[in-house]
Amino acid sequence: MKTFKMGGIHPKEYKFSAGIQIQTASIPQQAIIPLGHYLGGPSLPVVQKGDKVKVGQMIGQASGFVSANVHASVSGVVNRIDVHLDASGYKVPSVFIDVHGDEWLETIDKSAEIKRECTLSSAEIIKRISDYGIVGLGGATFPTHVKLLPPPGKKATILIVNGVECEPYLTCDHQLMIEKGEEILVGVTILMKAIDVKRAIVGIENNKKDAISLMQKLAKTFVGIEILPLQVQYPQGGEKQLIDAAIGRQVPTGTLPIEVGAVVQNVATLFAVYEAVQKNKPLFERIVTITGKSLKNHGNFLARLGTPLANIVEQAGGVPEDTGKIVAGGPMMGRALSSLEVTVAKGTSGVLLIPALEAARKNMQNCIRCTKCVVACPMGLEPFLLMSQSERSMWTEMENERVMDCIECGCCSFACPSNRPLLDHIRYGKSIVGKIIRTRQAKK
């Protein structure tokens, strides 16, 4: 079975919420929809205090090419546009909407019927995706239309679909493939048409056997789609790792996947693409996994953007008493939350409630030069070296050691037997080196 060649680890899976049907999370009294994005510029609000909005109406406009529109996820009246806490612990501009009823825009097709035929042209599809605010739902929330418009001179040859879900605990993509497999594959054909490729590979890790067999059965009715079972290995969901696993090609340092002719999209993104193109539905809801070892009702919830996480956790049985840390996203790459007032954003793939005993960091010891971090690093870096360079502010040396290649997957910290906080230091160094590179480019 295929997997990526360099590095990687295999943490325990703990997929408690696997196979649990997607439930609809209740609509909150007030939705607080963040306008900022993890990557790219924040959206600019196009509604004002007191405006009436319907579900699906645009409330934030993209501020540039690498940015995305934001749509109302509830119907009601705009209470105010103000700052609100987001998963990073900082306050970002958000639109507060007081909910009245649940009135959708008339253009949205609410029927469950699956439409396979797509009559739109490639340019129309990409325009629809950009208008309807589709971003990568794997977690990085990179605007999808940017990936579909390659730089001049580059041509995509293959579409790779990420159904890997290598993070422990999370099951939102798994459950989506089981329940909405056909829609996802229609989404794949739509994107294949948009970027004009004849072949698509859907990579699914082998711990989701039900999803693999179902998707394989469905894929027979489509042309050019191949379902590829992959060996379970973290971080296979990383773009560059998945390309290596699926087609055996490595993306050169400092370039984008389009360099090897690949475009990678997450299954949840493809479902959103299907809904946008075939059902006229903008991206205003997503599936959020709520899980944790002591939680009573693990579950996958279809939640509207802007729903406070506390509401959904309440529906899953409330915060268990022994909880020590609440993480937005998976345990490897997620961010610890400072408050459950944080609302569902486009990149919120899950909420993980970790018991206090497991959440605490262990004491750091000296580096014994065992090179376990080097073996684990999927990008072929030397984390122990980068950490000490970061501690000593050796930014030039860090840049030469390719720190910008780091995907912040956390394999190094996971593998370290001395519990050294490798990623913390490397991430800081990466942010500084990134700033230095950007100022250098701005000067040119």
Partner: protein, 277 residues
Amino acid sequence: MNTIIFSILTLLVISGISSVILFFISRKFQVFEDQNIQEIESVLPAANCGGCGYPSCHGFALACVNAENLENLVCTVGGQPTMKKVAHILGKDSNIIHPTVAVIRCGGNCYLRPLINQYDGVGSCVIAHNLYGGETGCAWGCLGLGDCEVSCKFDALHINPETRLPEIDEEKCTSCNACVIACPKLIIELRNKGLKSRRIFVNCVNKDKDEEIQSSCNVACIGCGKCMEECAFDAISMANNLAYIDSNKCTLCRKCVAVCPTHAILEINFPTKRVKE
């Protein structure tokens, strides 16, 4: 015996020839360095702190020699006496230095600004700042992990373990700017030392709106503007819900301190007010 004499003679001849060669080479490649540079370096504190803006004391001495006047050249560590000596060596007019000192613009200790979560990551402010907003509801305030303490070369800055806020030892602070650069929250500022080292400043950098601040911190500037109205000297300006006192205009009248509803304006080194009998 002959061997000894022979070797002595050979060595003498070799040394003689090489001394002549070295003499000419040193003449040919001689670098003329201003004698003043060394002299200035000897008066400078030799801390190599970088507070003057030059990488070392030698760099500063070089800049002093090359400069036409000493207007923008200040050794913050040595202060006025050192700059007088430098001016004397160069025969230039010495400039007048307003001594400055670092101030911490955050008063949110653990009683006034309660913790809402716990950070157990690497004990460094820059790393915590890179990760998230901080342990309290205020994402602007001091993280208390002590990057400034590490950066201080003069032992002038220490984190008070009780309040978890840094405290500055005015006697030792040389206003070298190292802590200002080290703080990721931009809390530390160099301010004029003031008459009898009395200072008044806004002890907060929070730019949030009123309602949000009150739930997170009790001593934050809420941007009400009362101090600005009270000030007769136009020294206080408001921007982004935050007041700022211009130390060049401030006359230390202390009227703003009295009107601040959250006690966010701090007075330092003033005598305690006498209670009227």
